[in-house]
Amino acid sequence: MDMDMDDGMVTPLFEVSLTFDVQDPELIINRAYARALWYTVAATVTVFGIANAYNRILGWIRFDPSLSLR
């Protein structure tokens, strides 16, 4: 990879790196990692959401008195 500074021409390798091809496999892989972040966040919120819902639902049902600490 090199660049001729005199005539401003760019070598093919550089063109490839600066050309955005939505079908580029590398781009698809990278985008998948960005989505993986959101999947992780969604999973975490779901777990904590279930814990929160669990506590709220407890208020609506008769629960085992042994959990009642008084």
């Binding site: 990879m1 090199d2 660049m3 500074m5 401003g8 390798l13 550089f14 790196s17 600066l18 955005f20 939505v22 590398e26 781009l27 892989i29 990278n30 985008r31 990692y33 960005a34 989505r35 993986a36 972040l37 959101w38 992780t40 966040v41 919120v45 777990v47 904590f48 959401g49 814990a51 929160n52 669990y54 506590n55 709220r56 407890l58 208020g59 609506w60 049902i61 008769r62 629960f63 085992d64 008195p65 042994s66 959990l67 009642s68 600490l69 008084r70």
Partner: protein, 587 residues
């Protein structure tokens, strides 16, 4: 001024608040028989809860003078480590290649990891966040995650920027990149704007002046998002647009609620255009009490806060304050300590309205807008024993909890309460002298064992312990008929010192009330001793609420974690668990 949070563990701790069934059971039986988790699932839940509390509560207190430099509670450190590990994994997993694509491979991966985090930052900054609703937390606690994600974004953007820059430098094409690729310039603009945002968001900087921080933060946000829109390629722009969508939805919800609460159009009882007027009262210690009578707010929970905006004092500014009253009071009450900026202007305005002035009563009230309430504090009615610890204006957080417990007509589990208030001067007791004495009476009526202690730390006139006893209530028995007018006046006055207390001559039927007293002591309290003695007396789970400066918060966190560990709560020893909820100063 107070605002946000400092608790930890977030949803992890949710498991610990298995509250409502206890209230249900308390309503169905008056039995005070102690029960501890038996074997099986309840025992496992109790064990996990206790273990999580002991792991997440402690907070190292390394700097007593410069508290900003202290690390956050351990629970938050776990969260930071977990998130940072996730980002580093996504950033470097299979992105390190050899050869000429070394820089670009990591730089592009960093770009995607960065743009993927942008919506998350906005999601966590929302006042009306879906995340907070789902996990049962509030925006002030989630704001910690907002800052954490923003700092990780800065890390990934730095890697993105530096790896591209290294490549261009290696091939000597930096200048041509800047000339040929406008997006590079926009990217650099976004990067340096983000650098500014992250720098000004560190606690020592952002706490210098709240108004300045908020103003520059919003301006920086617009600059950053504009630069980012111009920088990212079209196929990645959806992340930026989602971010703008989160911001827009939050603002629309806030403004809709603001208009609904504050325009008299929606509330018939208001006569003029605005629904709320605030009355200011000067309090000792350069504090101001803000009172909004008959607020257009049906209910709120103790410990929640609202954003107040005074058009005539600080236009276009809104500041968060904890509601110091309960819905039973039928008013919104706040205590604002004068520092700089808005709180100082508020205090100065209040002092100019002292009763000596000849202004009409209507002129002494101000149009005020409020936005809220926000915050998700736990229900303390679920605990057998409640310990409330407050430093200075932190009492605005603990006082409504105390009042709710003693005022609540519905059954609850509280059997014993201790209210500890640490203040600098004895005169500060006047902020809540009436409420404290009233609470003592109500607690006795309800059969709640209530201990109130005020610790005065910087007042040389308080060198020994003084009991403050409540004024005798107006008596309807025959002996009161002979009371003179002066005695009747005395009976209606507040007792805030020994001398005035001695002047009272309660009738014989008040003997029972004489035993009620608020203990005022000089010096700092022993937090460990306070929590420990309540744990020893507990017949069920204990809830500890603390609101105050960093040192008090950290001390209480560490004490609760230590005592829980020492007692082996939830670990088969039979000791009851202890739960902590901390609300710190700052934002």
């Amino acid at each position: 001024m107070r605002t946000t949070a400092s608790s930890d563990g977030y949803g992890l701790i949710l498991v610990c608040h298995c509250a409502n069934p206890r209230i249900r059971n308390a309503s169905s039986t008056n039995s005070a028989i102690s029960r501890i988790p038996t074997l099986g699932i309840p025992s496992a839940i109790a064990f996990v809860s206790a273990a999580l509390r002991e792991l997440t509560y402690p907070q190292p207190l390394l700097f007593k003078r410069y508290t900003f430099f202290n690390p956050p509670p351990v629970g938050r450190i776990y969260i930071v480590i977990a998130y940072l590990s996730l980002i580093l994994f996504l950033l470097f997993y299979q992105s390190i290649v050899t050869g000429p694509m070394y820089w670009e491979s990591i730089a592009y991966r960093a770009a995607w990891c960065s743009v993927g985090q942008v919506p998350l930052i906005f999601l966590l900054a929302m006042k009306n966040s879906i995340v907070g609703t789902l996990i049962g937390s509030s925006h002030d606690r989630i704001n910690f995650l907002h800052r954490t994600v923003a700092r990780c974004l800065f890390l990934t953007v730095t890697i993105h920027f530096s790896f591209f820059w290294s490549e261009w430098s290696y091939y000597h094409v930096v200048e041509s990149e800047l000339v040929m690729m406008p997006m590079v310039k926009y990217g650099m603009g976004a990067y340096f704007t983000l650098m500014w945002i992250v720098f000004t968001s560190f606690a020592p900087i952002r706490n210098i002046r709240y108004e300045f921080f908020v103003a520059q933060h919003i301006i920086s946000f617009f600059v950053f998002i504009t630069m980012l829109l111009l920088h990212v390629p079209p196929y990645a722009r959806v992340y930026v647009l989602i971010s703008i969508g989160f911001f827009a939805v939050d603002r629309i919800l806030r403004y809709a609620r603001l208009l609904y609460h504050n325009l008299s159009l929606f509330h018939r009882k208001s006569k003029n255009g605005f629904a709320c007027r605030a009355h200011l009262t000067v309090l000792p210690g350069q504090a101001t009490r803000v009172t909004i009578k008959n607020p257009p707010l049906a209910s709120w929970s103790p410990g929640q806060h609202v954003f107040l905006s005074f058009l005539s004092i600080s236009p276009l500014q809104s500041h968060p304050f904890t509601i110091a009253s309960t819905p039973a009071d039928k008013e919104l009450s706040f205590v604002v300590r004068a520092h700089a900026g808005f709180s100082r202007r508020l205090y100065n305005r209040a002092t100019s309205l002292l009763p000596t002035t000849s202004q009409a009563d209507k002129e002494k009230s101000f149009i005020v807008f409020f936005d809220g309430p926000y915050g998700c504090p736990p229900t303390f009615l679920q605990y057998d024993t409640v310990v409330l610890i407050a430093g200075s204006t932190g009492v605005t957080f603990t006082m409504p909890i105390l009042k709710q417990a003693v005022q609540s007509a519905s059954p609850h589990c509280i059997r014993r309460m201790e209210f500890l208030w640490i203040i600098k001067a004895g005169s500060h007791i006047e902020w809540y002298a009436e409420e404290l004495t009233r609470a003592m009476e109500l607690a006795e009526d309800r059969g709640i064992e209530l201990i109130i202690t005020c610790c005065i730390t910087c007042d040389p006139t308080y060198t020994t312990n003084h009991p403050i006893r409540p004024p005798p209530r107006k008596c309807t028995c025959c002996c009161n008929d002979n009371a003179t007018d002066n005695e009747k006046e005395d009976n209606n006055s507040l007792v805030s010192s020994i001398s005035s207390q001695e002047a009272l001559a309660p009738c014989s039927c008040m003997n029972r009330r004489e035993n009620i007293s608020v203990c005022v002591s000089a010096g700092r309290p022993d937090i460990r001793e306070v929590v420990d003695r309540n744990l020893r007396c507990a017949r069920g789970e204990t809830g500890v609420a603390v609101c105050g400066p960093v040192g008090l918060m950290a001390r209480t966190r560490n004490v609760v974690a230590e005592l829980s560990d020492e007692r082996g709560a939830g670990k088969g020893t039979g000791a009851y668990g202890v739960s902590l909820f901390g609300e710190g100063f700052g934002w």
